[in-house]
């Protein structure tokens, strides 16, 4: 009877449990997480802060999930050691847990650069449930009126919306000149920024926070920040949302090969047999860039965890790859960005753009050799999946590329032969 041990119970860990059980119904599965609640949706933590979701709504699996899958979830336990020779992991209290197959799905942790005053009461990061709970409690306790969010990426914008919904005045500080710069080109970024500004949010781009200062009456509590250009922004809260870095501590100093994240092959196995890695901690395959890289995204963590689980249980399964892909719902301006959404000048790429300024609509496709390799849709994401399907399937779009940006875009505007080939119609 195989012994599976999974460290981490978020997207990748949960998907691995399901995958193992499809192949092996009897092997023991132990899932170890330092969190108090497993099986919740991390992307929903901003809804917890805004008040839109409670803990029950945030659960992405039923409470009976672990029991149904005959898996033991050990909550509130931190894994601190890995012994590849004995094939054991060590918990904080010294307990050793033996494995035959190990999955490291420890995820990422927020990157917090050194800033003067960062130890002050009122400074938060924003990646997991306890971050969100502490932030929500602080807002209530302080009756907070203002916040500075450092970082205008996905997490920064999501927490900004939650704070705005709580009636808090937010200033977003971003080192890049444009917000959401990993997802959007300058034009798309400007459209989204203008919409968020209308909701009352201030942006300070092209700079960072040099110092967090205290309140006049209490220097230990956050009272404001001083930006690198010298401006002072008073605030009750600071949320650091610069990015996440892989939690690789467990494999440091071991034979498990590490780049920025844990290096894995197409079967999600690390450089050490029987040790697998998935999710934000691993460098998995990007089918657009044709290389492995960090892609800390929930849907990809699920796919990677599933592949790891299958292989751990003996069903050889290859990972088809993912790419940078996000769908954002914030501030009432939905947007989708996939693949090379904002490529540098490259003569081998063809860019198709359509903009409707009045309606904040922006569509952009990036083609290489007539295959879609990047797409951005702002405020017009209906049927985005069809374009993603063409991208994923590497369909040559040469004959109908202009139709891809039509307002009435759908399967009907595409060639009948393609509709049949892709099983859209019979």
């Amino acid at each position: 009877m195989a012994k599976y041990v999974i460290v981490g119970a978020s997207a990748a860990g949960i998907a691995a449990v399901e995958a193992i059980r499809k192949v092996d119904s009897v092997g023991t599965i132990t899932v170890i997480t330092e969190e108090a609640c497993a099986h919740y949706s991390r992307p929903m933590i901003s809804d917890l802060v805004s008040g839109k979701a409670d803990l029950q709504k945030m659960k992405c699996k039923a409470d009976g999930f672990w029991k149904e899958n005959n898996a033991e979830a050990r909550l509130g336990k931190k894994v601190v050691g890995l012994n590849l020779t004995d094939k054991t992991v060590t918990l904080e209290d010294g307990e050793k847990v033996a494995y035959e197959k190990l999955l490291i799905a420890t995820g990422g942790k927020p990157f917090v650069p050194k800033m003067e005053g960062q130890e002050k009461d009122g400074v938060f990061t924003f990646t997991n449930m306890s971050d969100a709970q502490r932030l929500a409690a602080k807002i209530d306790a302080l009756n907070a009126k203002s916040a500075v969010v450092i970082g205008a990426g996905l997490i920064g914008i999501s927490v900004t919306e939650a704070l705005v919904k709580r009636g808090i005045k937010v200033t977003v500080v971003e080192l890049q000149e444009k917000i959401l710069s990993l997802l959007l080109d300058a034009k798309a970024s400007d459209i989204v920024e203008a919409v968020i500004r209308k909701a009352g949010v201030n942006f300070a781009t092209g700079q960072s926070v040099q110092k967090i200062i205290g309140k006049p009456e209490n220097d230990g509590a956050v009272g404001g920040v001083i930006l690198t250009k010298g401006d002072q922004v008073p605030c009750d809260l600071v949320i650091v949302a610069i990015g996440v870095i892989p939690r690789t501590e467990l494999v440091l100093g071991t034979a498990v090969k590490l780049n920025r994240g844990i290096v894995v092959d197409n079967f999600m196995q690390t450089s050490v047999p029987d040790v697998y890695a998935s999710g934000d901690v691993a460098e998995a395959y990007d089918f657009i860039l044709n290389q492995n890289r960090l892609l800390p995204l929930w849907p990809l963590a699920v796919l990677e965890g599933r592949v790891a689980g299958c292989n751990m249980a003996g069903a050889k399964t290859s990972y088809e790859g993912g790419t940078n892909m996000s769908s954002l719902k914030y501030f009432g301006i939905p947007l989708v960005s996939i693949g090379l959404a904002n490529p540098k000048d490259d003569p081998t790429l063809e860019v198709l753009v359509k903009q409707d300024t009045e309606n904040n609509v922006y569509k952009k496709l990036v083609l290489k050799n007539n295959v879609i390799v990047g797409m951005t849709l702002v405020n017009c994401i209906d049927r985005a999946g069809i374009l993603f399907n063409l991208m994923r399937s590497q369909v040559n779009v040469k004959k109908f590329k202009q139709d891809l940006l039509r307002d009435d875009f759908g399967w009907a505007v595409l060639p009948v032969t393609l509709q049949r080939k892709m099983n859209v119609v019979q």
Binding site: K57, P299, V336, A412, V424, Q426
Partner: protein
Amino acid sequence: MKKIIAKQEACMGCGLCEVYCTTQHSKSKDIVKAYNSEHPKPIARIRREVNKPVSFAIQCRHCEDAPCVTACLSGAMTKDLKTGEVTHNKDKCMGCWTCVMVCPYGALIMDKEGKVVAKCDLCQGISEPACVANCPNQALEFKEVKT
């Protein structure tokens, strides 16, 4: 499992599938009330695509390995392993539109008023989905297909 299949050559693009789908998913199940007086406004989970002379209707295909289920951030989208149906729990939906981004058929509908996704549920509780039953030219079939 039984699925709804569109026959492109038989579709006239009349849009009655959308009308009956909307009505079936309304509170009143009354065509006039559904369109004129219900709030939130019921919406069709089937979409007619027209590019003359081509037209056909698209709705959830209840994919075997459904990309929307894998991608769902909240756990709202699930695959019922017994029936094969892809089901959506709107109370759990966070309206992130990730499923819209990955659905290969473009079959998931954004309920912009409710800020959640809406999709075909094969009209649970009635013998034949409303779009199939009311298609005047039998351009939609509800039949057993290999998954």
